[in-house]
Amino acid sequence: MENNNDASRDLFPGALEMMILESLRRQPAHGYALVQHIQQRSKNLLQVEEGSLYPALQRLLKTKMVKAEWTISSSTNRRVRVYQITKSGMQHLEREISSFDRMLEGIQMVLGPARRATNT
């Protein structure tokens, strides 16, 4: 299935979804705002491609992690489709973050302080 590879071009699988969910937990947003938000929060380290964002949003919609609603944006005054995290989205996010933390910890332990010391 090609779909699985979409988000992993730059990141590992599931990372984009995690960041979307995290952003939405802070505040419901529409697609464009999500791109902006992730870019700003990562201090432009991460470029979210629209080519990955929208399929990811559709996947989240399909698995009922988020829900969408058309409204009029107060700032730009245009019709936008605002995404909101759902309860199951919250739970999923918690699980993902904790497993991500563990993974990160593991990777760090493998790479080790010694190696990191020589590199830095």
């Binding site: 779909n3 697609g31 464009y32 080519g51 929208y54 559709q58 009922k64 969408a68 019709r79 489709r81």
Partner: protein
């Protein structure tokens, strides 16, 4: 969002997505305009650049909701449907051949499944066996009977002493007269011993089985009735239980009704009754070998164990019973009786099994021919799509993708053909049960079962894969190069272009050859059968009618004979009737015959009985042979004088006369008998042989006795055959009016007399030909189909090749080639393929014919005529099929062809 929305609100989802993406780009555009101070169109382009390919994003996002494989399949399906509808001629041809092929296969499979594969409709049918016996020492028996049936004393011994059966019983089918109703009627009766119902183990729909009490000589006279009889005679009312019917002048109480479709092995019945007298252990002799045995094995017991068990009981039987003081029970040692048990199913199916497998095989070959034909058509079509496929390959379509599409198209064709095939099969089965070949057992059980439908589905998929893979193997290999260079336009096709088509045609010819030879062999057998003298003539003008005179109507044998004589006289007076006679059995009527060995005076000593072969016995009236048209080879027929004066006379068949006395003439005047206590009977006539057991069986040696003879066993001095078949020769045979007049004639003598068996000898005759004609019809149809498909195949290939080489032909004509030579070029190539097919076909046909040996009659499997004619037919067909398209060459105008470039 539910799956419901995913299917039905797809467009809504799409709209949302489109709008969302649009808004996104707009917002971005506006931001760029604001931040970088660009014009709207410049900003928009920048936004789009940053965004990437919106269509791709849309597609990717949409894919999330799609069942991608399913939808790809639907898209492929749409494509196939569009392509097929663009060439309706091709589609119709392919689907028609496929549906007929698959339909025919499904129909035949249904028959094979219902008749041969499905277990018998009894509980745990695999434990049921036929208790048949072999008696290789009883000379002559084999000429009119397969094996030996059981006598009541044998049954009693087996039932008591066996160690391998849970239960066993014996039965015998016959008829009885149902009286006391508006018109006396002859009903089908199965007489059973104890243990038979327990063995078959099918409970009644109402009431109870016969019990041990019913089988006691002084027991209550109870019967069971069959479902059909219950519906017909009693309107299906339950209150019938407890009612009394009058059978053969005795009263019987109905105690139960057997379910619809229940048969005793292969015998349908109206009434099922016990036989208290027949199995009374106090009155038993050794003989009476007229009972069919059925047993239910104990679980875990094999047939060979049971076989040994029963064989070991034969000496016990000889020790236990006797034919009376002075007789030697161990006389039967000489018969070398052994058990020959076989699964019950074998008895039910009989000889039709082989025929059905053969038909299944041939119809399978037809299916292969259908597949090769469709493959051929697809090849031709794919050839014309070669450029399209090549372009697609050049544009990057994978080999797998193209192969998948070609196979998918074939599978779709297979599926549609299969669905239509089910309709064809349904029709064919309706037709079959309407015709109802009398020799097809379990006909009522035949239906389009789940198994048949699975078979159809499997066949449709298999055939789709089969011709699909042939085509895709050939075309997915194509490199884009040659096809794109347009080789087909500038040079004639290379050899390998046509190789697959040629191979298919050779295979078709070979398979058609096999089927035609099979059909030819059956046709030859049939014609030999038709030319076989049955021993009677113009059977279509012979009307038969069976009349039984019961003891209650006439106890005295002389009165019985007088009544039969009166009936014969009455019948002879009917308008249009030229001659009347009667006999205990008419040839091929399927009644269980009487038989014994005979002694010749002055040659055979009484002690030699055991070495004398068994002869078939029949009992005939004066004028019987004249009526049947049977020729008297020597001497004369019985006369009424012979009968009433009880003269000891007999007539023998020609083959018996030759065997015993050398010539027919020498037989006349000789004295024969079959029992020491019976007077010598003078042979007064020799009659031509009669095919008593069917046209396809050799004529047995027959001894004919008068219908009234001394009674050797009972208290009365005389005995008369009470159930006889009258034969009436008339141009009106078979007409309703004659039948009614004949019935009236009988009832004028006595209104209580039941009449049955109103058939013409022609019907009896064709019944005995039924197996051969059924096989012939099926094989003939298969062979005709194969021939037609073969012709279409050759026509297609040559026609295509002519079309491809039009340009070459134009140039050849321009260079001075004669058209006739060019036509011959094509015909020759067709003949080369045909001959190659014939060589393979002859070898295959020889092998198949060997398998058919037992179905053939009067010819050898390697029948020279069939093997000579069939290739000629195929060569002629090939020439015709190739000449028609080849003749188009003469219409080629070289100027046009060359101009076209």
């Amino acid at each position: 969002m539910s799956w419901f929305e995913r299917i039905f609100r797809r467009s809504h989802l799409d709209d949302d997505l489109v709008e969302e993406l649009q808004e996104h780009i707009e917002e971005r555009t506006e931001q760029i305009m604001r931040l970088e101070n660009l014009s709207r169109s410049e900003a928009r382009q920048a936004a789009l650049r940053a965004f990437g390919n919106p269509t791709l994003v849309k597609t990717r996002s949409r894919e999330v909701w799609e069942w991608s494989r399913l939808e790809a399949l639907l898209a492929d399906l749409k494509l196939v449907a569009r392509r097929l509808s663009r060439s309706p001629g091709f589609a119709v041809t392919v689907l028609l051949t496929l549906s007929i092929g698959i339909g025919a296969n499904t129909a035949v499979f249904s028959v094979v499944d219902s008749v041969l594969l499905k277990p018998l409709p009894y509980p745990q049918p695999d434990r049921l066996v036929t208790l048949s016996l072999q008696a290789p020492g009883a000379a002559g028996l084999a000429s009119f009977r397969d094996g030996l049936l059981l006598s009541p004393s044998m049954y009693l011994t087996f039932a008591e002493h066996n160690r391998t059966f849970q239960s066993l019983g014996v039965w015998s089918a016959g008829t009885a007269n149902l009286t006391g109703i508006a018109q006396p009627e002859e009903v089908h009766v199965v007489t059973v011993s104890s243990g038979l119902l327990e063995t078959l183990a099918v409970p009644p729909v109402a009431g109870r089985w016969l019990n041990a009490d019913d089988q006691k000589p002084q027991g209550s006279k109870s019967v069971l009735i069959g479902y059909g009889f219950w519906q017909r005679q009693f309107g299906g009312q339950r209150s019938v239980i407890g009612q009394t019917i009058r059978l053969d002048t005795q009263y019987w109480q109905i105690v139960g009704i057997m379910p619809r479709g229940f048969k005793v092995v292969d015998s349908d019945f109206d009434v099922l009754r016990p036989a208290p007298q027949a199995f009374d252990p106090r009155h038993q002799i050794m003989e009476g070998f007229a009972w069919n045995g059925v047993g239910r094995l104990k679980s875990g017991v094999t047939i060979s164990q049971a076989d040994a068990d029963i064989s070991s009981l034969i000496p016990v039987w000889m020790d236990s019973w006797s034919d009376g003081p002075g007789s030697n029970s161990h006389f039967f040692d000489i018969w070398r009786i052994t058990a020959a048990l076989s699964p019950l199913k074998q008895q039910v199916i009989g000889s039709i099994g082989k025929v059905l497998w053969l038909v299944m095989g041939t119809i399978g070959i037809v299916m292969l021919i259908v597949c090769t034909n469709v493959a051929n058509l697809l090849l031709v079509r794919a050839d014309s799509r070669q450029q399209e496929l090549a372009i697609r390959a050049a544009l990057g379509a994978g080999r797998g993708r193209i192969a998948r599409e070609l196979i998918f198209e074939s599978l779709v064709l297979g599926a549609i053909g299969g669905s239509a095939g089910i309709a064809v099969a349904y029709g064919a089965l309706q037709l079959l049960s309407a015709i109802g070949p009398s020799n097809l057992p379990r006909l009522s059980e035949i239906s389009l079962s789940l198994e048949s439908l699975c078979f159809t589905a499997g066949l449709a998929i298999f055939s789709g894969l089969f011709f699909g893979s042939i085509v895709s193997l050939k075309f997915s290999r194509i490199g884009p190069g040659p096809a794109l260079r347009g080789s087909s336009r500038t040079v004639s096709a290379g050899r390998d272009r046509h190789r697959s088509q040629n191979v298919l045609v050779v295979a078709q010819v070979a398979m058609a050859m096999v089927l035609l030879v099979c059909a030819g062999l059956m046709m030859r057998s049939f014609s030999v059968l038709l030319n076989t003298k049955p021993g009677f003539y113009a059977p279509q003008h012979l009307q038969t009618m069976r009349v039984a005179i019961l003891k209650s109507l006439a106890s005295d044998p002389v009165t019985v004979t007088r009544m039969q004589n009166q009936i014969a006289d009455k019948l002879a007076q009917l308008p249009g009737v030229s001659s009347v006679g009667y006999a205990a059995d008419v040839p091929m009527d399927g009644l269980e015959p009487n038989w014994n060995s005979i002694f010749v005076q002055g040659r055979d000593s009484w002690g030699a009985k055991s070495t004398l072969p068994m002869r078939l016995f029949n009992y005939t009236s004066p004028n019987y042979f004249h009526t049947m048209g049977s020729r008297m080879i020597a001497g004369r027929e019985f006369t009424w004088d012979d009968v009433y004066n009880q003269r000891p006379v007999s007539i023998i068949s020609e083959n018996l006369a030759r065997e015993l006395f050398g010539t027919a003439q020498a037989a006349v005047g000789k004295q024969i008998t079959y029992f020491q206590l019976m007077p010598w009977h003078q042979v007064i006539g020799v009659v031509e042989d009669a095919r008593h057991n069917g046209m396809d069986a050799a004529a047995p040696a027959i001894v004919y006795w008068p219908t009234m003879s001394p009674n050797l066993y009972g208290p009365e001095p005389l005995d008369a055959v009470r159930g006889v078949t009258f034969v009436v020769r008339s141009q009106r045979a078979g007409s309703e009016s004659l039948i009614q007049e004949m019935q009236q004639a009988v009832w004028q003598i006595n209104s209580e007399l039941p009449v049955s068996g109103l058939r013409t000898m022609q019907e009896i005759d064709s019944k005995s030909l039924a197996r051969t004609s059924f096989t012939l019809t099926m094989l003939g149809a298969a062979a005709a189909l194969a021939l037609a498909l073969g012709i279409v195949g050759i026509y297609g290939v040559i026609s295509y090749s002519v079309a491809q080489r039009t340009r070459e032909m134009g140039i050849r004509i321009a260079l001075g080639a004669r058209k006739r030579e060019l036509q011959w070029l094509f015909v020759r190539s067709a003949l080369a393929l045909t001959v190659a097919g014939l060589i393979i076909g002859v070898l295959a046909a020889a092998a198949v014919a060997e398998l058919m040996r037992t179905l053939l009659f009067g010819i050898r499997p390697l029948d020279p005529l069939s093997f000579a004619v069939v290739p000629l037919v195929l060569v002629a067909a090939a020439m015709l099929a190739s000449y028609l398209p080849a003749s188009r060459v003469s219409a080629i105008n070289p100027a046009d062809v060359l101009k076209a470039e």
